[in-house]
């Protein structure tokens, strides 16, 4: 592999060549198959990638063509990225749970010619939209089950394509050299991947990232946290999301880290326990769910265990974070913490699959301070970062030892930050995207000619030099009395309770704040079981008077906390209702990355919001829903609206005022 010495490692396929030479027998990918972890070494990966790349060429893939990649995190699909990019084609990962219509839009917009997909489900989706995407010539599938009887004129099994490649290399001695030449032709400025952002408004935009973007961002990320070939991570977030692309592909190839792919989306927790990754990334929601599950299980635990759990959690809350940050802590507390570590924290970390964790990140949404501290106090180095698809993830990160629950950290290596007069955060970095594909208007609106990118988030730099994000710039509003209304702040307070899955606060241009709440079916379901509350469906559970009582008490607690904060006291929640269905990405109420689309919710539930403000105690609503296979249905409900006691600012006495 003569390439190595001659060229700079400016593309991911070149990194693959280096890794195969330098880290030959080290694990590159792992995947649990038939219940057993299988390992792909870097050398094996190189062979797989080469065979597939040559096979793709035989099928007619050209430099510059777009190739869609659709499926759960699988070694073969990661290999596909490298294979596609090695011959200069552009990879376009698409969210695997997209409904066919969304998929058709992206395939058409990106002019995708080849698609490499995981299984029959995805093949079926592609067949159902075949007429709308005539330029899609070839579909390659990884799992062969159920696809036997299909028409194979444009359909190929992954193994079959590799077989084509191996045959070609056996018959034609030049094929292997041709492949190396193709990699050599790749430049850092070539587009390597197009990521379609889920976008909180309108159609998704194709963010074009170059090899330079990916490689430099990955190298900076590795440098920041000292990731090396000794580190392992679990790839479980959608491959179409920039985070997974940078962590599990860019950083893994740049640092020769080992990426483990779970057996199935349902087995992630179990798989994480077995792999015990050293690096873990998750949106706050995942940490929240984990904590919810633990709390639910602890409710069923015996008295001694339960006492031990709560006692040592209190100890950890007191000194755990200080110990983690290397700050001075008294000997007695250290001792107690050590006992707690043996009895509670270590088993807990092991239970959650964090027994070897060195660095964990969260991002995407503000994390509840209590939730954040919970993990840190257990001795897990959980940090926050702030990133965007347009930045190849990294804008700011929290360095070790400088971690605050309410900031998103300092600018990453080579990143410049500026705050516009409007309060909007701007950045410039080597990771900044080339442009939006076929959408110059949006590119101009987001990226200035000298490379600064508008984030759309409002924030400021605090006294530690850390960036603080308040909310989406467009979401921060005011109540009629002029008081500040930051909906996310309120929602996050509510979402810290395990019973609450999602909350949406309203108040912009209103007299007071109200809230829609989504209960968490797991947590509330278990509560119902313990309290002999009978229910037949999510809807029935959500409408149960006892569930309402419980949530009203939670909101009362939130109001009490808010009353103690002068600038937030006006935002106490006066009325609320529990929504009869879960907010769902298939209905457009959430993005594919599970963020609430506020405008859609306001539009869909307008009658409910009116009822929250007109003093009525019941409201009837029927909502159209879309199932994952594209069928539509209607969910109807008769919802109760409940008033919550509010508190006077600073005064502890209840003011049981009427809602009007």
């Amino acid at each position: 592999m003569s390439l190595e010495s001659s060229a700079r490692l400016d593309t991911v396929p070149k990194l693959l060549l280096r890794n195969a030479a330098q880290f030959r027998a080290r694990p590159a990918l792992r995947h649990k198959d038939l219940g057993i972890w299988q390992t792909w070494t870097w050398e094996a990966l190189l062979n797989e990638v080469r065979a597939f790349a040559v096979g793709l060429r035989k099928l007619g893939l050209e430099r510059g063509d777009a190739v869609a990649i659709i499926g759960d995190n699988r070694p073969r699909l990661y290999a596909t990225f490298a294979a596609v990019q090695s011959i200069g084609a552009i990879s376009v990962p698409i969210y695997q749970d997209s409904v066919a219509d969304e998929m058709a839009y992206v395939l058409d917009h990106a002019e995708v010619k080849f698609a490499v997909v995981q299984n029959q489900e995805q093949v079926d989706k592609l067949i159902s939209i075949a007429e709308r995407v005539p330029q899609l010539r070839t579909v390659i599938y990884e799992e062969e089950r159920g696809l036997d009887g299909y028409d194979h004129t444009r359909l190929h099994a992954f193994a079959h394509v590799q077989e084509l490649g191996r045959q070609e290399m056996a018959e034609n001695a030049g094929a292997s050299g041709w492949w190396l030449d193709e990699i050599g032709k790749g430049k850092g400025s070539d587009v390597s991947v197009m990521l379609y952002t889920s976008g909180t408004t309108g159609r998704p935009k194709g963010v074009m990232l170059t090899h330079d973007n990916i490689v430099l961002s990955a190298q900076n990320g590795n440098k920041f946290d000292n990731f090396t070939f000794r580190d392992t991570l679990l790839a479980y977030l959608p491959m179409a999301w920039v985070g997974d692309h940078i962590f599990s592909y860019g950083q893994a190839f740049a640092g020769a880290m080992c990426v483990a792919c779970p057996e199935s989306p349902e087995t992630i927790i179990e798989d994480r326990r077995e792999i015990a990754p050293t690096y873990f990334f998750a949106p706050p929601r995942v940490y929240e769910n984990l904590l919810t599950q633990i709390m639910v299980r602890m409710e069923d635990a015996g008295r001694l265990k339960s006492w031990m759990f709560h006692y040592f959690l209190k100890v950890a809350r007191g000194c755990g974070e200080k110990i983690l940050d290397g700050k001075p802590v008294g000997l007695w507390k250290r001792l107690l913490y050590a006992v707690g570590n043996v009895c509670v924290y270590a088993p807990l970390r092991n239970r959650m699959g964090f027994s070897k964790i060195r660095v964990a990140y969260t991002a995407g949404e503000a994390i509840g301070p209590e939730l954040f501290r919970f993990y840190r106090s257990l001795g897990m180095n959980l940090k926050q970062l702030y990133g965007q698809t347009e930045a190849s993830v990294y804008v700011t990160l929290q360095p070790d030892g400088e971690v605050y629950a309410d900031t998103v950290g300092k600018p990453g290596p080579d990143v410049e930050i500026a705050i516009a007069d409007s309060g909007e955060v701007l950045y410039r970095s080597p990771g900044v995207f080339l442009k939006y594909y076929k959408n110059d208007e949006a590119t101009e609106a987001t990226k200035t000619p000298d490379g600064w990118v508008h984030t759309g988030d409002a924030g400021f730099i605090d006294q530690h030099g850390h960036l603080k994000i308040i909310d989406r710039a467009k979401d921060v509003g005011r109540l009629n009395n002029g008081a500040l209304f930051a909906p996310k702040y309120l929602e996050n307070k509510m979402k810290f309770y395990p019973e609450v899955r999602e909350a949406v606060a309203f108040g912009q241009g209103r007299d007071y704040v109200t809230m829609l709440v989504n209960i968490d079916p797991v947590s509330v379901g278990s509560w119902a079981e313990r309290n002999n509350v009978a229910y037949a469906s999510y809807q029935e559970l959500a409408a149960h008077p006892q569930v309402y009582d419980m949530l009203a008490r939670r909101l009362e607690e939130v109001n009490r906390q808010l009353a103690e904060e002068p600038q937030m006291a006006a935002s106490q929640i006066h009325r609320f209702l529990i929504l009869h269905k879960e907010l769902d990405a298939d209905d457009g109420e959430m993005t594919r990355t599970q963020k609430v689309r506020r405008s859609t919710v306001i539009e869909r539930y307008a009658p409910l919001i009116d009822a929250l403000y007109d003093g009525s105690t019941r409201c009837r609503i029927s909502t159209a829903v879309t199932f994952e296979d594209g069928r539509k249905g209607v969910v109807e409900g008769d919802l109760t609206i409940v008033d919550v006691p509010t508190y006077q600012a600073r005064a502890a006495e209840t003011l049981r005022e009427a809602a009007e």
Partner: protein, 272 residues
């Protein structure tokens, strides 16, 4: 509730089958004065999905029990793979490649999904109890081989996430799937499914339909199923036999049966 009939010998060895895997002829079964099945005849062809439907108490489950030898009919014969018998025996049925699932899920509640499916391999295990207890040599290889077969089934049925979960803790829909897994572990030629979709929601039903169709296509398994969801029956099955009060009232393609006057009367009732 075993019908009290002494085992009878095979009455007439091999017969010409012509693509017919199993045939019941003139079978009658009664428990004391209750006539559960009265002179029913039908056949099951190789590679088809054969539905048995009928109102409650029509004798559908009794029919399955006759086929796999749990009940012994007083009259009639059962011809399976060319061997004609007065009645079947459960061990003969199992060894002959007939596997089944039950209406009310009959799994070992305290055992894991994996172990439950593993029990389906029992007949294929060759080594003795002692060898397996010592877990040594051939017994060990044998276990590895069977475990692999079981893992393939787990992968096929998409139940990897509950591999180690005691089945008693699982929701009903998943228990049904585990039970199907155990039946498949026998690598059956004839699979008897007693209400495989009972108590399932729409999505679970769709999954189950997909599994049944794939089993038929991929493993060339012949399937006889009892089902109440007419949509499922009409979509899945190649031929349908309809029972009412122990009698056969119709037999044919789903479309034939759907239009049959007797069937409509049996289901909707008729003015006397």
């Amino acid at each position: 509730m075993k019908a009290d009939v002494k085992p009878k010998p095979v009455i007439s060895g091999e017969v010409e089958t012509g693509g017919i895997l199993l045939a019941v002829e003139n079978v009658s079964l009664s428990f004391g004065g209750v006539k559960a099945i009265r002179g029913v005849s039908f056949d099951i062809r190789k590679g088809e999905i054969r539905a048995i439907i009928g109102p409650n108490g029509a004798g559908k489950t009794s029919m399955l029990n006759v086929i796999n030898g749990f009940y012994h009919p007083q009259e009639g014969t059962i011809t399976y793979k060319g061997k004609r018998r007065h009645d079947m025996r459960p061990y003969l049925a199992a060894r002959g490649g007939i596997a089944r699932t039950f209406q009310n899920v009959a799994l070992f509640k305290g055992m894991s999904t994996l172990d439950n499916i593993m029990t389906g391999r029992t007949l294929k295990m060759r080594r003795g109890l002692l060898a397996h207890a010592l877990h040594f040599g051939p017994a060990r290889w044998e276990e590895v081989r069977h475990r692999e077969a079981v893992e393939r089934i787990i992968d096929f049925l998409e139940i990897a996430h509950i591999r180690k979960t005691p089945v008693g803790k699982l929701p009903y829909g998943l228990q049904k799937r585990v039970e199907l897994g155990r039946a498949l572990a026998m690598e059956p030629e004839l699979l008897l499914l007693d209400e495989p979709m009972a108590g399932m929601n729409l999505e679970e039903k769709q999954d189950m339909c997909r599994f049944i169709l794939t089993v038929k296509d991929m493993f060339d398994t012949t399937i006889a199923l009892i089902e109440h969801d007419m949509g499922v029956v009409m979509d899945l099955s190649d031929r349908v036999v309809v029972l009412d009060y122990g009698r056969k009232i119709a037999d044919g393609t789903p479309a034939d049966v759907q239009g049959n006057r007797d069937v409509i009367d049996a289901y909707l009732g008729v003015a006397h």
